[in-house]
Every structure is written in C-alpha cells, then in structure tokens.
Symmetry: C2
Subunit: 437 residues, 2 copies
C-alpha cells in the first residue's frame, strides 16, 4: 500500500524528506559493455552495425548488409496503409496541435545599437541534423515520436534521422506513421548503444548528426552519456511521476484513474496525491484498488502504487503548494474547485494540468504541449523538451573605432588586472591606431 | 609552427578534417578520486570540507571550523577598498553592460486559448538557488564572476552562492569585488570537488543549490558530471578557440594580437586564421612571432600557436564561410572590409565579432555579451551562457468539459493503440461523466 502522510504528524518532515529522497530505480551498470559497443561502431562502422543488429535484435540483414538498415519509403507507405484510419486521424490531430503549440516557442532574435553606437544582439539558428532514438518492442510509442520530432522540425532541423530497433525484423506500423506525419527524413532499423554511436560518429550508411534525443533503456542512456560532447543530447529521463493536488470537488474515480495512468508506465513510476480531505483520500484509495483489478497492466501499476505511491493529507491548499514545490513534479494536476490561484503560486513543475477536466493523459497525447518533461525533481532546474532544444544562439557584436575608444580602455584595464597582456594588446593596438590618425 | 593549409591543395580535405578532429587536451583520469571526495562530503558534510580544505588548499580553519569558510561582508568590503579604483570602475562598466545585454534575454511567457477553448501556454520561472564555482590562484578571473553571476541575477535567482578556493588563505580582491558588484549572496572559501559536492548535497554551513555553473579544473569538471542530475550544471568547457576570417583590409599586427590573445589562455587553446591573401597571411605570421617575444605568457602562447595554430588560405570568402561552419568556433572574428554579408551566412559559431574594430577581447570583458561560450565544435548544438540557463519552463494546460469532449476521444484512441489502458480510462471516465449529465 502507498505511504500515508499527514502534515500534522510530528515526524512528517522526516517522512516527507524520505519520500523525496527514495531511489526508485537501480542504475544498471552497463557502462563497460556500452563503451565497447561505441568503440566498435567508431572503428568498424557499418560492419559493426550489421553484426550488432544480428546479435541483439536477431535481425539478419543478409546480402543487403548495412543498406538493409534503411527503412524505405515504400515500407513506410505500406505501414501507414496497415494502420486503423482512426489511429491515423488521432495521430494527425496530435501532430497538428503539437505543431501549433511549439510554433509559439520559436525564439526571437535581438539586434540593437546601444547609446554608444555598439551593435549588439544574438541570433537563433537550428541544429543542422538531429537524431531521434525510438525504443522498439512494447515501449514503441508513436506519441513519443511526435513529441520529439515535431519540435525539431518546427525549429528548422534540416535532417531528422530516426533510429528504431526491429527485434526479429518487426517495426510498429503506427511508429512509422508518426514518423511520416512528423516529417522525419531518414529511418534506420537499428537500436541500442550501436544506434546512438552511429548517430554520433557516423558510418557509411548513417551520416552523423549534431544532437541526439529520445528515450531508451539503460544501454541507450549510457551511450548518450558517452557521446555527449561529440554531439548534444537531451535530458537522461528517469522514471515518470505525477503529483495530484485534489479537493473534494473532484471525482475520486477520476483521480484514481489519473494515479494509475502514471503507475502503469513502470513499476518505478510514482503517483502522489495531496488533499485536504481525509474522506476523499480514502475514496480515492478505494477506487485505485477497484480499478486496478481490471487493468491489463495491473501488475506494473500495482507495484508502482504499492512501492512508490503516496497519499498526503494537508490542512490547507497553501501547504499543498509548498509540498508541490519541494517535489518539483514532472506532472502536476490541480484537481481543485478553484485552481487558478494555485497555478500562479507554483514555482517548480514540469507541466501543470489545471482543473478536474484536464487529466495528464490529454497532455500526453493531443493537447499540444510536450510530454517529454523533467523527472526526478529536475523541474527545479530544467524544462520539458521544446523548440529551443533544437536551436542554438550565436551572439553578435560590432564596434567601430568610436565605440572601441569608448569601452576599449576598460577592457585593457581588466585584461591587465587578469594578467592577460595579449588580450590588452589586441584592444590597445587598435586604440593606438585610431589615436595616431 | 602552425599548420598551413591551402584549400587548393589536393589533400586539403583530409588535412582540414585532421585539424578539426585533433584532440587538444588529454582527459585527466580523476574520476575515482573525485567520487571519493563527493562521497566524503555527502557523508561527513562540514567536517569533510574542513579536512579537505586543509589538505588541498593548505588552509587551517582552526577553532572557527566550517564557520570560517564563509567570507564575511567585512572581508569583502576590505577587499574592494584594496582594489585600484580604475579596476573597480572598469568592472562596474562591464557589470552594467552585461546586465543590459542579458535583460534582453528574459523570455516571454505564453498563455493563450485556442479555437476549441483549450487554455495553453507556458511560464518561465527562475532557478531558486544557484552555485557559482570560481577557480582560485592565477586563473581567478573577475570577468568570469560577472559573466556567470549577472545572468543568474537577471534571471531572478534568489540565492546565488559563490565558492572559491583560497590557497594558503588568499583570495583575489578583484574577484570579491566582482562578486559584490554582481550581487552574489553568499561566498565560501572552498574549492575543488569538495565545493561542488557541498553545493549539490549541502552541509550544515552551505545550503544546497539547484544548479551549478562556472569553470574549473579537471577535478571540478568531474565533480560536476557526477552531481549532474541531482542538480543542473552548465556545459563542461573545453579549451578555448578563435577563428579569424580576415582580408588585407585588416592590420596584420591587430590580427596577430587577436590570435595570441586566444593562445595565451592555455597551451591547449587554438587560434586559426583563414584568409584569401597569402601575403597577408605571411605578414600575420611574422607579427605573431615578433609579438610573442614581449608577451609575459610567451611560453603558453607559443606552445598553443605551435601545436594547435593554423593558417588557412582560401580563394573566396564564400569558402571561408563553409570552413567556419565546419569549425563551429567558440569565437569567430570577421575582420574583413565588408563583414555584413558574412554575418548573415554563418550558421555555427558561439559568438561573432564583426569588423576589424571588434577584437574578441572587447567581448571578453565589457561589450555586454557573455564570454562563456560553447567550445570544441559544440556551437553546432549549444549556446553561450545566458539568462535561460538560470530559468526553466513549466507548461500549462486547461481543458473544460467541452474541450475534453473535443480532443479527448483522440487521446483515448492513441492510449489504447499504445496499450496504456489507464491512460485511456482517465480520459474516458470524464467523457462518460459529461455524457451522463
């Protein structure tokens, strides 16, 4: 059963701290194995990809060799045709809404001339080529393809390359459909650390990219850490979590379903309910138990709720806000009668779902905001995936002789104070040149 | 002597690739030592800090113990009084200009209601507490204090904590002055991996922060990698580099000084000149040799220029732009007669310094743009330090019953397609609730 806390308990502070500090996931020690795979791909390129794909995915590329890694347009077209039309329609709605939301994230450049005449500013440009890792098998989520690929395309990424393992040669048709809808440019049936290495270092078949995003297992995460620096990477995602602040205006069945939607992801997922109402808390707990019985992923959800779930009683919603900021949850639902004042006061959360008719699941799929969000309290210092993750900023500076005459002497002073004589000289020579004229 | 390349050489492509790929810095293997230090600080807190400060900095805190780590306001005031007034004036000018530049980076929130009535948007909030690592000894640069601290304060960071080692008890007065000018809230005389660990995990004396920025040696860099996840970190900076595109309109002496300003940082720094004019290239090389003789940091600069410097001849400035994008330099100077068309075409650079009167050094100190920039080709996918590094974005979503009725069914379809029944249920229960009314 979940942890039950009451803010009035004398040991509440310690127990809440223990809840926050609990490790939910044992880090698998795969670093040495992954390092060997990355080195193999660096050294042997396509040959390594073919061999590792045979070894890990049971996929024999035969005489096609590495060329067989590429998923052809004809395959994608056939996959799309095999998808139920209502699935394609739902994906298309999601794509359109994600695109509309992310278009508002395109940053503005700045170019201005200050009072001294110094021209200043900065310019945003897209990453040229990006790679998107997509897990295979049961965790192949077309919604994740959209959430990663659409912001890249909105940012202006020219070459978006998807890698996805095809265990036994099988690819999920809806994943290919999502890639097509999102405008993915190249798809390769390769996964694991070898796919990440290929994206970072390139092979004859897969040209290298500048940034790699997307979720994956421990091997993929370790490979991303190893290639970081050579290329950019997105966050390393931990297990997912939801924090729901609810009062008695919410339907306990709805809140129970929301808690379970988080719990069904992973036994390491975490669902926390904070409420001012003890009777409501009991009703939600009872609803969780009854709903669990009819869930296909009952075992996973039950383990998550039992091992990591929590129900916290507070006296006031003010107290709930304080606890929510301490949790800095990936997902925060405000299922209360009057959520607006709470929205304004929350400081740390990946995403806020406002009001009882906004379950997290609508944001996971079709609302338009991104579902790739900071986990494990990292919302204190990081943001969900967005357009900025696929862009970078170049600062621009221009002085003429008059501007350098105005601010250059201070640069000379500071350079000398730091013992950097060549810095001072590079400014001073120009000042002297101007003075001599 | 530097590498000399000519784009017309038959082996140019390979030699240019070799220049790009050359490792300039051997990674020191300090991970095990750093991990032990981090664990020690986690386990023993202040006691570890006192012991490690004695061991590494030769600083005996005596009866004050860990309380003696805090640099008092009186010490800061005394340090400022000891600084030459012209240095304080130059720092103040730099502070004001950095603040003005970074104020323009404050991002705008978005809140809007779409055609269906769904309320969407996102909100930027500051990181609550940030730590700034400042190296001690000869690499104690007051300009770096400003470049890291001012954006944090502009972002709205409430608690900005500076850590700086005091070898033998000594602190650079101008570093303390910069901290005061930038509004740093707390200063501790502690450095190395132990300082990073204290900022990440907290001790009785040093409360933990959410994000750690600032340059440091191999121990500091390794500690930042280890605590990443627990807290946010900025980039791990590599050795610095400048790429100068120049034509005969530039003064060879000025360009030589600019190349040496980069080279004097570090023997691993890299200075590259690209020019269309062979005679100009020769003149710059000769000027480098003659200026080297009178540099206090001659040895460092000479080693950098000899081991990593390069002079590249091209036929057209168009070709220079292509090479500059491949280098994706931290600093790019466009010292040509007509730089504006080049500015527009460059895609990858940390910062662009436009025209012959804009030496990089003016940007290093007083122009206002940030001097913490992406090194080692990472400008392909990352940006210089800025206000956004101290803020994070929370997405906000609100549906009412009508909005959920409009987009919820597609969420149910996708959740079922992904086999996530509890996700589907959390939306479907609400749709059924609305339908029953």
């Amino acid at each position: 059963m979940p942890v039950r806390l009451d803010i009035r308990d004398p040991d509440f502070k310690d127990r809440f701290a223990a809840l926050l500090g609990a490790k939910r996931e044992a880090a698998a020690d795969v670093e040495a194995a992954v390092r060997a795979i990355v080195e193999d791909v660096k050294a042997r390129g396509d040959d390594a990809l073919v061999a590792l794909t045979q070894k890990f995915d049971g996929l024999d590329l035969g005489t096609a060799g590495a060329a067989g890694l590429r998923v052809t347009p004809a395959e994608v077209t056939a996959a799309v045709a095999a998808c139920p039309p209502e699935d394609i329609a739902a994906l298309t709605l999601a794509r359109d809404r994600i695109e509309a939301y992310h278009r508002r994230q395109i940053p503005e450049d700045q170019r201005y001339t200050d009072a001294l005449g110094v021209e200043l500013g900065y310019r945003w440009t897209p990453v040229e080529a990006a790679g998107l890792y997509v897990p295979g098998g049961t965790a192949a989520y077309p919604s994740s393809v959209l959430m990663n690929a659409v912001p890249a395309k909105v940012a202006g990424v020219e070459r978006l390359v998807m890698v996805v393992p095809a265990p036994g040669g099988k690819l999920a048709p809806l994943v290919l459909a999502a890639a097509q809808l999102a405008g993915v440019d190249e798809i390769f049936r390769v996964g694991g650390a070898q796919a990440v290495a290929a994206l970072a270092y390139g092979t004859a078949t897969i040209a290298p990219v500048d940034k790699i995003v997307g979720p994956g297992n421990a091997y993929v995460a370790a490979a991303k850490r190893i290639v970081f620096g050579k290329v950019g990477i997105d966050m390393i995602a931990g297990p997912s979590e939801v924090l729901i602040i609810a009062d008695a205006s919410a339907d306990p069945q709805w809140i129970a379903a929301d808690l379970l939607a988080q719990a069904e992801h992973d036994a390491a997922a975490q669902s926390i309910l904070i409420t001012t109402d003890a009777a409501f808390a009991h009703a939600v707990e009872a609803a969780v138990e009854s709903q669990l019985a009819t869930l296909p992923r009952e075992k996973i959800a039950a383990a998550s709720w039992r091992d990591h779930g929590a129900v916290i009683l507070v006296e006031t919603l003010d107290q709930a806000v304080g606890l929510a900021d301490a949790v800095a949850a990936e997902h925060l639902e405000l299922a209360v009668a009057d959520p607006a004042p709470l929205v304004d006061r929350i400081r740390h959360a990946g995403a806020i779902f406002v009001g009882t008719h906004t379950p997290e699941a609508v944001g996971d799929y079709v609302a338009g905001s991104n579902h790739v969000l900071p986990t494990a309290r990292s919302a204190r210092f990081s943001s969900g995936l967005g357009v900025l993750d696929f862009m970078k900023r170049t600062s621009i500076l221009r002085c003429g002789p008059d501007q350098l005459a105005a601010i250059g002497p201070a640069a000379v002073t500071l350079a000398k104070a730091e013992g950097l004589e060549a810095h001072a000289r590079s400014v001073a020579l120009r000042l002297a040149g101007a003075a001599a004229k």
